[in-house]
């Protein structure tokens, strides 16, 4: 049974007043709140188990190494991949940079890279830079005016341009729209394109089975999945991953070093230079344990119920324009009210203890595509309830009255 009140009680940050009002946290797309088990895993690591990993024969170091590698296994299981295909990075952004940099020698001025206008800047800029370094062409998949892909058009576009690389989001960070990846990845694969999926937003809500998804690379961010900040991950199909040039060099990633020459270790170690973020990795495993202790279907159903409830209420307010697709959405509502600036709405909402984000959401090409400068984004997660929606809508109505 999915008990929302029990779940809310697991998140200490939700139990506070902001500006004298109970916090209504609707900014999970930026970062999720953390369950107590994640916070105590961090504390316990530093209070008791702190030691460096993969070196030192003392007991603490061995325990730390074991917990660290066990955590890799826990996260790998979540995505149904093997632990050797999972590289720790400091975030999804670094994971994309790792791939884009590692592909430099594999592309040339005959190559084409395809991305889309729906992407977060993190899935645009590294590819722009790669195109600049190699002379490759950078193209964007056609996006419909409503911010959704027409799959047939996308497939045709891919067949026409025969990309070497295709990088696309699993779900839009600004709109929450879920990409229908299957046909797009299949089309890319027919041309032997290297495919990367940005899972920063989707990895929490959709709990994807990566081999089934069929991409070569998938990136995610721990702090958007109930875990700590400063940690992300890169899944790579082993041969594809191993074929990337090394990103950063130094300790931990080497087999042997002489002053003349260095032999690198095998994947994933060769992409993990320096002391890793051990505490975050171990705490992230606690987040995944928390998530998998709940039924995937009931979490998803609950999130969709809250999203639909919020969407319906928001649609009922005259003058509100919603930009998010209300179907196939991970739980994000992007909207504006008449000509009002999203900054003003978000600032006033904060007075009521409602946390939303305003701005371009690191997706300026998408905002240009939608013909807006920015919007207000309310993003939901498993710990939001009906009362959050009611408080949000009531506060929003008060704010809009203040502005009218």
């Amino acid at each position: 049974m999915f008990n929302i009140e029990k779940i809310r009680a697991d998140f200490p940050a939700l139990q506070q007043l902001i500006n004298g009002q109970p916090l209504v946290y609707l900014d999970s797309a930026a970062t999720t709140q953390k369950p107590r088990s994640v916070i105590s895993a961090t504390e316990q690591f530093y209070a008791r188990n702190n030691a460096n990993v993969h070196r030192g024969r003392h007991t603490l170091s061995e325990q730390a190494t074991q917990a660290y590698e066990q955590a890799r296994l826990t996260v790998a299981n979540y995505f149904n991949i093997t632990a050797s295909e999972l590289v720790w990075t400091k975030g999804a952004t670094e994971a994309i940079n790792l791939v884009a940099n590692g592909l430099t020698e594999q592309l040339n001025d005959n190559s084409t890279i395809i991305i889309s206008a729906l992407e977060h800047h993190a899935n645009i800029v590294p590819w722009q830079q790669l195109a600049k370094r190699t002379g490759a062409k950078l193209l964007a998949l056609p996006l419909q005016q409503n911010g959704c892909f027409d799959v047939q058009t996308c497939v045709k576009f891919i067949e026409q341009h025969k990309p070497s690389v295709l990088a696309i989001t699993h779900a839009s960070n600004a709109l929450g729209n879920i990409t229908d990846l299957d046909p797009i990845l299949h089309a890319a694969k027919r041309h032997d394109a290297i495919t990367l999926v940005d899972g920063a937003q989707a990895a929490l809500h959709l709990q994807p089975n990566l081999p089934q998804l069929g991409c070569d690379f998938y990136v995610f961010s721990a702090h958007k999945m109930l875990g700590p900040t400063g940690l992300g991950g890169l899944y790579g199909r082993y041969d594809r991953l191993n074929s990337l040039a090394v990103y950063q060099t130094g300790g931990e990633m080497i087999e042997t070093v002489t002053l003349a020459k260095t032999v690198f270790r095998q994947t994933p170690a060769k992409f993990e230079a320096g002391t890793p973020n051990i505490a975050a990795v171990i705490a992230f495993a606690a987040a995944i344990d928390y998530l998998t202790s709940l039924s995937k279907a009931s979490v998803y159903t609950h999130e969709q119920i809250i999203f639909n409830y919020a969407a319906e209420k928001l649609q009922g307010i005259a003058g509100v324009t919603i930009y998010s697709s209300l179907e196939n959405n991970i739980g994000t509502l992007c909207f504006n009210y008449r000509d009002e600036h999203p900054f003003d709405i978000a600032t006033l909402l904060d007075g009521y203890g409602i946390a939303v984000r305003s701005g371009h959401h690191c997706a300026q090409p998408l905002m240009q595509h939608l013909g807006i400068n920015g919007c207000v984004r309310a993003s939901f997660a498993l710990y939001n309830n009906h009362s959050d929606v009611d408080l949000f809508i009531a506060a929003l109505q008060n704010c809009l009255e203040l502005l009218d």
């Binding site: 600036h341 900054f343 003003d344 600032t347 006033l348 007075g351 400068n373 920015g374 203040l402 502005l403």
Partner: protein
């Protein structure tokens, strides 16, 4: 009629609620003269992540005082801008250097708007005014 800083401070202090305070701030923004489009150059644009703020700084040599014109695309920031202008407009460089917007915003209960995380450009605006005052002093 543009209010003096004292008048603004008084009406904000007398606001019965935070909502009323914001209403006052937005009203101040509304009363601010519109900035001519020609002055909204990229140089006048103060970097703020979520809102745009333009600041045009001039110096009246005859009167030895700062002339500041500003605008914003958001109502709240424009209102805060009006407060900043009421603090600094027409001051001599020396007076401006001795005018601390942070202390004044603190008194008004608006200090959170000058925090670096706000991304509204207000803090950068004050810094630009102070830099100019120091150059002209």
């Amino acid at each position: 009629m543009i209010k003096t800083f004292k008048e603004i401070a008084l009406s904000l202090e007398n606001s019965p609620s935070w909502q009323q305070k914001y209403r006052e701030i937005m009203l101040l923004g509304k009363q601010l003269p519109t900035m001519p489009a020609v002055l909204k150059t990229s140089e006048a644009l103060v970097r703020g992540c979520e809102s745009k703020v333009w600041l045009y700084l001039d110096f009246d040599l005859e009167e030895n005082c700062l002339v500041i014109i500003g605008d914003s695309d958001t109502r709240i920031v424009k209102g805060l801008l009006a407060i900043i202008l009421s603090l600094y407009n027409g001051l001599t460089p020396e007076q401006a250097i001795h005018t601390d917007a942070f202390t004044q915003f603190n008194h008004l209960g608006l200090i959170q708007h000058l925090s670096p995380s706000r991304g509204n450009g207000i803090k950068a605006m004050v810094e630009r005014i102070q830099t100019m005052a120091e150059q002209k002093n």
